[in-house]
Amino acid sequence: MVKVTVCIGSSCHLKGSRQVVEELQYLIKENNVGDEVNLAGAFCMGKCQEKGVNVTVDGQHYSILPEEVKQFFNDKILTKIK
C-alpha cells in the first residue's frame, strides 16, 4: 500500500491542489490501483514556499505543479506498486 498525501492548505489550494487531487483520483481509477494507493489530504505542511503543491509519497516530500501530475504519478507512485 502506497500512502499519498496532498496538501490542501490555503497556499497549496491557490497553487492548484484541487486539480492535483482530481487528477490523481482519475489516474488511480484509470490504472485500477485503488486497492494499492491510499490517497489522503493534509492541512498545511509548512512548506508553502515551494513552487508547487506539496505532496508526500510514503513520507517522501515532493512539490508538483498541476501539469506535472501524470509524469509524477508514473514515476513516483506506479513504480512503487510494481
Partner: protein
C-alpha cells in the same frame, strides 16, 4: 430563562422605484428589543421619507419606554403633510419584547401580524385603543422558545392583485403558506425572505406596491467559539486553546496551522476529507471534539460573501444553508444556529503566506468585516486578539 431574539426582514420595491416606501427600524435597549415596520403613504421618495421618520421616531421612543400616547403625538406633530393628498400618513407595527419573550405589539393599519407557535399560524388577541384620533390595536406578547411574529406591509396581502389573483393574497392564505414552509430551525430572516419571495412571484417580479416582511423569533441561546489563526506566543498555546474550548456550545477551527495546534492539544488526529464540494472552497478537516474544522482565509472570504447576501434586504435567494462545503457549513452555524459568537484571532504571521492574497492583513480584515455583519444580524459578538 434568557432567550435570544432573532430578527430579519426583506423588502420588495414598488416596480420601477429606486426607494422603498416601507421602512424597518430595530433597536436593542437593555433587556428589550424593539422592531418597527412602517409603510408610508404612496411610493417612492415621499413614502420613503414618511416611513423613515415614523419608524425612527417610534423605534427610538418605544425602546426608551415612552408611552404609546406620547409616541403617537410626537409622530403626528412631526410628519410632513402631503401637498396633493393633504394628509400625513404612515402605517406601523411595533414589536417591543424582552429576553423572556414578554412584551407588546402595537398595530396601526398594517395587516394584522401573524403569530407562529409550534408550526401553527395564530392570531394574537388584540385590544382597540384610540390615541390622537387613531385606532391602534394592542396585543400582549408572551412568546415561547421557537415562536415567531411575522409582520408585513399591505403589499403582502395585495400581492398578485389583478395579475395572478383577483383579490390579492388573503391573510388566511399567507398563514397556510407560512405553515407549509415552517421549520422550527429557520431563522427570522429565512421566514421573512421566503414570504417576500412568494409575494414577488405573485406579482410576477413586478411588485405593484412596496412589500416588506419583518419577522422576530425567540429561541434558546447558543454560544459558538471560533478560532482563526495561531496565537503569536507559541509557548502559551495550551492556555489559549483551553480558553477557546471552555464554555462553548459549539467550536469551530479555521486554518491549517490552528487545526494542527488544536489537534495536538486534544491528542487526536486530523482527518482531511478530499471531496471538493465547492470549487472555490478548500475541503474540510475533522478533529474529534471540534464541531467544524475548515481551511482559513479562502473559506472566510467566501463566508463573508454569504453574509452580505444573507443581510441584503432585497436578495430573495432562500436563507437556508444546505450545501456541505466549509463556507456554507460555517454560515449555517454562525448565521442560523449561533446567538453569541466569540472570535479567538491569532495574529501569528505565516511567513510562507506573506505576499500571497491570503496573508495576515487579509485575514484580520476579513474577521473584522465578518464580525460587523454578525452584529448586524443581531448576534452578540466578541473579538479576542492573541
Amino acid at each position: 430563562m434568557s432567550l435570544f431574539i432573532d430578527f430579519g426582514y426583506t423588502s420588495l420595491n414598488h416596480f420601477g422605484e429606486e426607494l422603498c416606501g416601507d421602512k424597518v427600524e430595530y433597536a436593542k435597549n437593555n433587556d428589550y428589543v424593539t422592531l418597527v415596520l412602517a409603510d408610508g403613504l404612496g411610493s417612492g421618495v415621499k413614502a420613503n421619507i414618511l416611513s423613515t421618520l415614523t419608524s425612527k421616531i417610534l423605534c427610538t421612543m418605544v425602546s426608551n419606554n415612552v408611552s404609546i400616547n406620547e409616541c403617537l403625538e410626537t409622530m403626528v406633530a412631526s410628519l410632513p403633510v402631503c401637498k396633493e393628498r393633504g394628509v400625513a400618513y404612515s402605517t406601523f407595527t411595533v414589536v417591543h419584547i424582552n429576553h423572556e419573550g414578554k412584551g407588546f405589539l402595537f398595530e396601526f393599519d398594517n395587516p394584522q401580524a401573524i403569530y407562529i407557535h409550534d408550526g401553527k399560524c395564530l392570531d394574537l388577541e388584540r385590544k382597540k385603543i384610540t390615541v390622537s384620533g387613531k385606532d391602534v390595536y394592542q396585543s400582549d406578547l408572551n412568546l415561547k422558545d421557537n415562536d415567531f411574529i411575522v409582520t408585513m406591509s399591505d403589499g403582502a396581502i395585495h400581492a398578485g392583485i389583478g395579475a395572478t389573483l383577483n383579490f390579492g393574497w388573503e391573510r388566511e392564505d399567507i398563514k397556510k403558506y407560512l405553515e407549509s414552509v415552517y421549520d422550527k430551525n429557520m431563522s427570522a430572516k429565512a421566514i421573512a425572505c421566503s414570504l417576500a419571495k412568494s409575494c414577488n412571484d405573485l406579482y410576477l417580479d413586478k411588485p405593484g406596491d412596496d412589500t416588506t416582511i419583518a419577522a422576530i423569533k425567540i429561541r434558546k441561546s447558543l454560544r459558538v467559539h471560533i478560532m482563526v489563526g495561531p496565537p503569536v506566543d507559541k509557548s502559551k498555546d495550551e492556555y489559549y486553546i483551553s480558553r477557546f474550548l471552555k464554555d462553548a456550545d459549539k467550536t469551530i477551527v479555521c486554518g491549517g496551522t490552528s487545526s494542527t495546534i488544536v489537534a495536538r492539544y486534544l491528542n487526536k488526529p486530523i482527518e482531511v476529507d478530499l471531496t471538493y464540494l465547492d470549487s472555490d472552497v478548500p475541503p474540510m478537516g475533522k478533529i474529534e471534539g471540534i464541531d467544524l474544522v475548515t481551511e482559513g482565509v479562502l473559506t472566510l472570504r467566501k463566508l463573508l460573501e454569504l453574509s452580505e447576501e444573507y443581510l441584503s434586504i432585497v436578495d430573495l435567494s432562500p436563507k437556508i444553508f444546505i450545501k456541505k462545503d466549509g463556507a456554507t457549513r460555517l454560515a449555517d452555524m454562525l448565521f442560523i444556529e449561533a446567538s453569541d459568537v466569540d472570535f479567538y484571532v491569532g495574529q501569528s504571521i505565516n511567513a510562507a503566506h506573506q505576499g500571497l492574497p491570503i496573508d495576515i492583513t487579509m485575514k484580520l480584515k476579513l474577521v473584522e468585516s465578518l464580525a460587523n455583519n454578525l452584529k448586524k444580524m443581531g448576534k452578540n459578538v466578541t473579538l479576542n486578539y492573541d
